[in-house]
Symmetry: D3
Subunit: 168 residues, 6 copies
C-alpha cells in the first residue's frame, strides 16, 4: 500500500471517458456518488456540443487500472452510453499532511501539500468549515479566511521560534 | 407589417426562458426546429449548473409578444419543464439589404447590415456557401473568404466610379 | 396564499444576478443551499468569461419580490460580489398534481404538470427514485423507466375504462 | 472486419484535438459533417478559454489509426488550426443489437447494448422517432416514452413466457 | 454625480446582449477593452449553443441608459451582429471604501464593500498584487493571502483598541 | 533545434492537467502568463463540474517533456491543486512561413501554414492588427478583412504572373 504522505507519481492510472447526449442530467450526482464509493480518485463532467448541436456532457473518471472493471460496470449500468474511452495518465500527487487549527468554532483540519519538501498548498477541510458556518451562522467565507489566517499565524510563530524562514 | 429594410427598435419582444435538468439532450435540435418554424426570432441554449450540481441547459426563445401562446404550447409539450420565465426585451435591428456576388461557384448572396445609414455588417449566406463548398469540393472557409473578397472588390470599384469614399 | 394546483402567472418575480470572478468555487453548493432554505424559487450558475479572460460564474436566483432583502443579505455575506442586478420576470407555472405509482421497490410519487387542463409533464420524484435505487441495488435509470412505464400503464388502463382517449 | 455485435475493446483508436480561437463558429456543423462522412467514430466540441481570455472551442475527433491521414487533411483544410494533437485511446464498445417495436406511428427501431451478455442499454433511434413525431404531430418525448414502454412490455412478456428473469 | 461611497440602487441600467455565431473569437478581448474604455460598467461573455449546434458566445454589456448609443456604435462596428437586445436592470451596489495594507512587498490597496453599514467584502486589488508577485517572485496566491491576513490583523487590532466587536 | 518551417510531428509532448475547484479565478490570467513565459506551447482552461456540483476549471498545459519540471513547479506554486495528470500527446505542426502585406495602416504580417507543401492557413497577426485598429480608429474586423483581401490579391497576382493555379 502506498504511503500518501510522500510526494509520488502513480503511472498506473486511467482516465475513463464517456460522452452522453441522451441521458437525463438528474442522474449525474447519483452516478458521481456511486463511482466515488467504488474507489474512483476523481469524477468530473465537461459540457460538450455533440452531433446535431446537442449540448451533452462528458463523464470523466480518474481511476487506477485495477479498478477499471468495477467502474465500467457502474457506468454501463447507470448511464446511457454504448461505449467508453480509456486514456492512460500518470498522476503526480503532492506529499500530504494534516494539521489542526484552533478557531472560535472549534478545531478545524487543514490539508497541506508538499512539493520537493516545501509547503505549497494549504486548504481548510470543506466539510468542517461548512459545519462550523452552519452551526454558528457565520458566513462560510469568513470561516475559511479565519482558518487560513490562524494557520499562517501559527506557522509564522513556529518559524520565529525555530529561527527558520517559514513563509508559504 | 414592419419593413425590415430599415433599422428599428422593436419594443414588444419577450425573452422566454426554461431551465431543464431532466431532459434528454437529444430533443434539443427538434425543439429548436419547432420553435423556429412557429415564428421564434431566435432560439439558443446556455449550459448551466443546477441543483445538486446537475449540468443542465437553459432554453432561450426570443419572440414577439403576440406569439408567446404558441411558444409556450410547444415548450410545455416538447420539453420537461414545469415553468417558464418571461423577460421583456427591446430589440434593436440593423437595416438589412441583400446583394449578390459572382463567384467561381456561381452567384452567392451576402446580407448587409446598416447602422445610421452606414454599412457595418456583411455576411455571406451560410447555406449558399455550404452548397458551393459541397458541390465544388473547395473548403468552406475558402468560399467564405472569396465571397468577402469579391464583395469588397465590388464595393471598392463602385466607390471609385462614383468618387465616394466607401469603405466599411 | 396561492394555490399551486392551478396553472398561473406570477408577475412579481425577480431574477437576481451576480458575476463572480474572485470566489472560491467550493462555496457554490453552500450558497445554493442557503438561498433555497431562505425561500429562493430557483438557484443556478452560469459559466462566463469575465475581464482578463477569467472563467467566472454568474449566480442566478429566481425569487419573489418580497424576499429580495433576505436574498441580498445572503449573497453579500456568502459570496464576494460588490453588486447585484435585478431583472423583472413573469413566471408561468403549470398546474401541479401528484400521483403515486406502485413499483417493485414500493410506492413512488410522480409530479404531474397541466397546461390548459391537459397533462403535459410527468416526472418521478428524484429523491424517492434515488432511495429506491440505493436500497435495491437496481440502476437509477431502471427505476425511473419503470416508474414512467407503470404510470403510463395506469393511465392507459384508466382511459380504457372511462372510454376517454387518454394520451400524454 | 470486426463484428460489432460483440462487445470488444478497440485499442487502435486516436483522439485528435485542435484548439480553435480564430475560427468562425458557423463552420462547426459543416466540419462535423465532413469528418463523420470520412469515417470519424465521433466528433464533439468543448468550449474552452484560450490566450487573452478568448472563448474558443476544442475540436475532438475519435477515429481509428488508419484514418488519421484523411482526418488531418479535412481539419487543416476546413478549420483555421496550425496544429493538431493525437492522444491514444482504447475504446470499449458494448455488444450491439437492434430490435423493432410496433407503435401507433409504425415500427420503430431500438438499439440495444450488452455488457458481459446482459442488456444494459436500450435507445430508440432518434431519426425514426423524429420522423414519427413530425408526421403525427405528437410530441417527440411522447414518442420516445411510448417506444420505451412498448419495448419493456415486449421484454416482460417474453420473459414470462420463457420463464427467464429478464431485468433491466 | 453619484457618490459611490454609499450603498445605492441604480435603476437606470441596461443589460445589452448580442449573440454571435459567426465572429472570430480573437476579437473578444479587443471588443471588451473598447467597451470598458467607453464607459461600460461590466462586460462578460457566455458560451451558448446556437442554430445548427454552433458553439457561439453571447456578449453582455451592463451600462447606464445614457451610454447606450455609444455602446451600440462599438458593438455594431466591432462585432458581426445584426441586432441587439436591451433588458432593463436595477443594479444594487455596495458602499465602497479603500484601505491600504502594509506588506513585505510594499503597501497594497484593498477594496471594501459595505451592506447596511456593515463590512461584507474585502478584496485586494488584483493589479497591485500581480505587480508585487511579479517583482518579488512570490506566488500570487501567497501575496493575496498575506494581504488578507494583514488586513484582518489590522482590523482585529483596531477592534480591540476601540472595544468594538468588528468581525468581517 | 527543430526547424519550424517544416511540417513535422513532435512525439515528445505532454498534456498536463489539473482540476481546480477551490481557486480564485482571478489567478487564471497570471498563471497562464507565467506558464507561457516558462515555455509552455499552449495553455487553456476548460469549465467543468466537479464534486458537489462545483463549477470548477481544468487547467491544460501543452509542453515538451523536458520542461515538465518547470511547469509543475509553477502549477503547484501558483494554483491550489494537490495533484497533476500527464497525458502523452503527439503534436502535428504545419510548416510555417510569414509574409508581409502592405495596408493603409502600414505593413502587417500574416502567418502561413503548409500541409504537404500546400498552403492551407493564412492568419493576420493579432497584435499588429490590434495596434493598427487602435491607432487608426478603424474597426478591428475591417483591418483583418482588409489584410486577408490584400494577401489574396497578392497571391492571385503572383499566380497569374507565373502561370500557376494558386488556390486557397
Amino acid at each position: 500500500m502506498f504511503d500518501h504522505r510522500h510526494e509520488h507519481i502513480d503511472d498506473r492510472m486511467v482516465l475513463l471517458q464517456a460522452n452522453l447526449d441522451d441521458m437525463n442530467p438528474e442522474y449525474v450526482s447519483y452516478v458521481s456518488d456511486r463511482l466515488f464509493e467504488a474507489g474512483a480518485n476523481d469524477v468530473y463532467w465537461i459540457p460538450i456540443v455533440m452531433k446535431r448541436g446537442r449540448p451533452g456532457v462528458m463523464l470523466n473518471v480518474l481511476v487506477s487500472e485495477e479498478r477499471i472493471g468495477e467502474m465500467e460496470r457502474i457506468v454501463f449500468a447507470e448511464t446511457t452510453t454504448l461505449g467508453l474511452r480509456y486514456l492512460r495518465a500518470d498522476v503526480h500527487r503532492l506529499g500530504r499532511e494534516f494539521a489542526t487549527v484552533e478557531t472560535p468554532w472549534g478545531p478545524i483540519t487543514v490539508k497541506l501539500g508538499f512539493h520537493r519538501g516545501e509547503l505549497v498548498q494549504m486548504a481548510p477541510e470543506f466539510k468542517e468549515c461548512e459545519a462550523a458556518a452552519k452551526s454558528s451562522g457565520v458566513p462560510l467565507k469568513t470561516v475559511y479566511d479565519e482558518v487560513r489566517r490562524r494557520y499562517a499565524d501559527m506557522r509564522s510563530a513556529a518559524g520565529q521560534q525555530s529561527g527558520s524562514g517559514g513563509g508559504t
